[in-house]
């Protein structure tokens, strides 16, 4: 390491330390939640997640995809036409004999519901599950006005009794074990018989809440969908409580965000297909209720127990639909947050998230909302501070993208919000982040640590130029301590070792295939170039053996590192440069082959957001993951015998999260199998390392917890372990103490 480089590092570290960026509190909180709630959350979310995959398999991926496409179109159109649909709902509900109230914010909504309740001389209110009422703190608001309010969804009831907040959008109490609920209920209610089974607890709750429903004056529900044309609401439940709350008392108040409106019954169909399948892996919920209140069902008057006709109540039914804005109009006008309003709150983004599976919504959530999309909701409804509490838990692994029934680009929303948090400024202000390690050029507010990871390419360049000395220095205890204290890089992690000779240097002036079948640019992503050039060389040899002329150009990073830190301007800058550099190669008829999946995903997914459409499409069309490309070559007649065959050798393969989102896991498996390897694949969503994430001190234990699920799958295997991503191989090596390589190194000649 040169003197200037060392000086830079020292200055970097001391500046960072002076900012006292070390989030010990986060680490403690995560450790506690891993221990207290992790097992329960893991079992429940993984169950939902696995069921989701099964139910989608049953109806076929294609059909599911059709519904997703349609659902997204409907939501996009409905949000676009929202003001008009709101007007339509006002009319149709009024025609039915009900009232619509648009609440500007939480206080406004609370006040209205309280007034309606008081107008009905209510003492007791029963509720079915509604996240929107959690958002507006409705229970607290009504209690403050002296009302007795009960949650009738059993999960919400548990939370109400425990005085906790929901840990999941769909299963508010899924962090609690049966034993914990037994203890809680026995302490609270002192029942005559022990409540030591799920059955006993359920029976108790049914009786207890049944009495409260019978004596209720007002029933409050949410609404999963509001149908503008008919003034109907759709409710999804499994317990049957929503219908009871809506039909037993004669006053029904439904509270929903304004974004829940869709035009008519016709548009409900794809959502009816999607919602339960995505949420809990059910083909349809037990109860899909469509109500166009006031309904014809007679209200029940339990005060006249012997009167026929359900007590003979002659009270008119009264219905109020409270549509809550609370920041949604602004979200609608925000190009990056708008998609959040398409969310149907199925929780699939939480269930498919490896970090969420470990730590749950009490860490991975804000004031109200939990899981991947919570960042969008919290940023829009509560503000950036609420989102900042947990935004960094999204690693951008993108597994939620395919899970989301309305195809929201959830990682992008997380990235945008991260960028805004970094800037600490209002959205919309133009700022330019300067590329480089120079602290002086730093954007005000952007944490230095993010800049450090975001500029990993520069770190790698310096590290490689000075390797192996840089590696030695970096591994010295005082340096590691300084990195930990200053940048929060956990001492328990082994740092990447930079190679003195980069892939680009190795390839320079090298002869390749004459008269090739195809011409290829092997993209030297930062990891392949500086840290793992061997896998790059293996890729070059493989492609050449299959008849390709291969060039390894000296081009820059994809922008993945800055993007993952929420440094969008820097990422865009990198994307533009790379697109320009690769453009010349595309002009020359070359295909772009990428080894590192996170770099490929950048080009194929995120560049859509960062580059002009035509530039993005051209690059997207021309770029391939290395095994995807090899697969294509073999399909088109290239002879596989030039590669290293498997002869039945066992291989344990972990694909990369972002590679799987692109649908590219199967190509590696197919090629390995064609070459005679016996392949076992992992089925965890992510390795838990996720670029810089696993290096950060406060997340180290979470990262290891996630990684252990992967390690468990490969633990007792005598197969050769291979993985596509650098992060994945690092994580596997750390946890299994076995070598993990990129699969291209197996098959290369």
């Amino acid at each position: 390491m040169s003197e200037t480089d060392a000086g830079r590092l020292a200055s970097l570290v001391s500046r960072a330390r002076s900012r006292a960026a070390r989030p010990d509190a986060d680490a403690d909180r995560i450790r506690r939640l891993l221990a207290e709630e992790g097992d329960q959350i893991k079992a429940n979310t993984r169950h939902f997640n696995a069921e989701r995959y099964d139910r989608i398999d049953e109806i076929g991926a294609e059909r599911h995809e059709r519904y997703r496409t349609r659902a997204r179109e409907i939501k996009a159109d409905a949000i676009e036409r929202l003001p008009e649909l709101i007007d339509r709902v006002r009319e149709s509900v009024a025609d039915n004999g009900g009232t619509v109230y648009i609440a500007d914010d939480a206080a406004d909504a609370r006040e209205y519901v309280a007034e309606v309740s008081e107008g009905a001389d209510a003492e007791r209110v029963v509720k079915s599950k509604s996240m929107t009422t959690e958002e507006i703190d409705l229970n607290e608001g009504l209690e403050a006005r002296g009302l007795d309010i009960w949650e009738t969804d059993l999960g919400e009831f548990v939370i109400q009794v425990a005085e906790e907040s929901p840990s999941h959008i769909v299963g508010p109490s899924l962090h609690k074990s049966r034993e914990e609920i037994t203890d809680l209920f026995e302490a609270q209610f002192d029942p005559e018989e022990s409540l030591d089974s799920a059955q006993a607890l359920t029976e108790f709750a049914r009786e207890y809440l049944g009495e409260r429903i019978e004596a209720a004056d007002v029933g409050i529900t949410g609404a999963n969908f509001v149908l503008a044309d008919s003034g109907s609401i759709a409710l999804v439940t499994n317990e049957g409580n929503a219908r009871k709350c809506a039909s037993v008392p004669d006053t029904h108040v439904a509270v929903a965000g304004v974004e829940k409106i869709i035009p008519s019954i016709e548009e409900l169909h794809p959502f009816a297909e999607l919602i339960a399948r995505s949420a809990t892996g059910q083909a349809i919920p037990q109860y899909l209720s469509l109500l166009s209140p006031p309904v014809d069902t007679p209200a029940v008057d339990f005060d006249s127990p012997d009167e026929p006709g359900f007590g003979g109540s002659d009270a008119e039914r009264d219905f109020h639909l409270v549509l809550v804005d609370n920041g949604r109009t602004e979200m609608r006008e925000d190009d990056d947050l708008r998609e959040t309003l398409y969310c149907i709150r199925c929780g699939a983004c939480a269930n498919s998230c490896a970090n969420f599976q470990s730590v749950g919504g009490h860490a991975f959530g804000g004031e109200t909302y939990t899981g991947g999309i919570a960042t969008g909701w919290e940023a829009g409804v509560e503000g950036l501070d609420a989102a900042a509490e947990f935004n960094d838990l999204c690693t951008g692994c993108s597994r939620c993208v395919n899970a989301c029934p309305v195809k929201i680009d959830i990682p992008w929303i997380n990235t945008v919000v991260r960028d805004r948090i970094n800037r600490g400024k209002d959205p919309g202000l133009e700022d330019v982040l300067v590329d480089g390690l120079v602290p002086d050029a730093e954007e005000p507010g952007t944490p230095l640590r993010k800049r450090f990871f975001g500029n990993f390419e520069t770190v790698a360049k310096v590290g490689s130029a000075t390797a192996p000395v840089s590696n030695t220095i970096a591994s010295l205890t005082p340096v590691r301590r300084a990195l930990d204290a200053g940048l929060g890089i956990d001492v328990r992690r082994e740092l990447p070792a930079f190679q003195r000779e980069t892939l680009v240097e190795w390839a320079e002036g090298r002869a390749t295939v004459d008269d090739p079948e195809r011409r290829v640019v092997l993209y030297p992503d930062v990891y392949t170039n500086y840290v793992q050039p061997e896998r790059g060389k293996a890729a070059v040899r493989t492609l050449e053996a299959l008849g390709c002329a291969v060039t390894v150009p000296d081009v820059g990073g994809s922008g993945r590192a800055p993007l993952s830190q929420g440094m969008i301007a820097t990422a865009r800058d990198k994307a533009e440069r790379l697109a320009a550099d690769l453009g010349d190669h595309l002009d020359a008829g070359r295909d772009v082959v990428v080894v590192e999946p996170s770099a490929l995903a950048m080009v194929r997914r995120e560049y859509e957001k960062l580059l002009p459409a035509a530039t993005y499409e051209r690059l997207d069309d021309a770029s391939y993951e290395v095994f995807e490309y090899v697969y294509g070559l073999l399909e088109n007649g290239a002879a596989p015998d030039a590669l290293t065959a498997g002869d039945g050798d066992g291989v344990a393969y972990h694909s990369h999260c972002q590679q799987r989102t692109l649908g590219l896991e199967s190509h590696t498996v197919a090629v390995l199998e064609e070459l005679g390897y016996d392949v076992l694949t992992s089925d965890v969503e992510c390795c838990g390392m996720a670029g810089s994430f696993g290096y950060k001190s406060e997340y180290y234990e979470l990262s290891v917890d996630v990684g252990e699920s992967l390690a468990d799958q490969f633990e007792d295997t005598d197969r050769t372990v291979v993985a596509s991503g650098t992060s994945c191989t690092d994580q596997i090596e750390a946890l299994l103490a076995t070598e993990a390589r990129h699969p291209i190194r197996l098959v290369a000649p």
């Binding site: 548990v158 709750a205 008919s230 127990p305 009167e307």
Partner: protein
């Protein structure tokens, strides 16, 4: 794949833990008598040729009867074959309450009203909405919860469902 809709419907009902039987119209009364556990409440059936009046089923029950009933009988004009779903409509006779309070829900449904899937059910639904019948519940299997640490059937709704399919074809 040409199984009759009713056969598929019954298979789906089994999958969602509901039972079913099929009867000729002439056998309806006997079959219903078999399916009832007393005391029972009911909502008038929406079919001209089928009635609950010869059965020990309280129509327009008092709240006490509703609470005490072990069986609730309603008629449904929709079955969904591949899901095992039935419709419970909001009517003045209190179908919703009848289907929800007692621990056992007996559904009377005509074979000709079984539609293949959710898509065809929504086509039917659109016509119903046009005709102003726009409040109903799609009910699929007994009410259930996983919130108490394991799956339990019978929460705020019934824990058993029996569908009596009247073969009118």
């Amino acid at each position: 794949m040409s199984t009759s809709p009713v056969r598929e419907f019954r298979r789906s009902l089994r999958r969602v833990d509901a039972t079913s039987s099929v009867v000729e119209p002439a056998g309806f009364d006997a079959a219903l008598a078999d399916a009832l556990e007393e005391p029972a409440v009911g909502a008038p059936l929406p079919f001209a040729d089928l009635s609950l009046s010869d059965h020990p089923v309280a129509l327009d029950p008092s709240p006490r009867e509703l609470r005490a009933a072990r069986t609730g009988v309603t008629g449904s004009r929709l079955g969904i074959a591949d899901l095992g779903t039935v419709a419970v409509e909001s009517r003045g006779g209190g179908d919703e309450l009848t289907a929800l309070f007692p621990e056992r829900h007996v559904v009377v449904l005509r074979a000709s009203d079984v539609r293949p899937d959710l898509e065809s059910a929504f086509a039917w639904l659109a016509e119903e909405f046009d005709a102003g019948r726009d409040s109903l519940v799609f009910e699929t299997g007994p009410s259930a919860t996983g919130d108490m640490g394991a799956l339990v059937q019978g929460v705020h709704g019934p824990e058993a469902i029996h569908v009596l399919v009247v073969d009118d074809e």
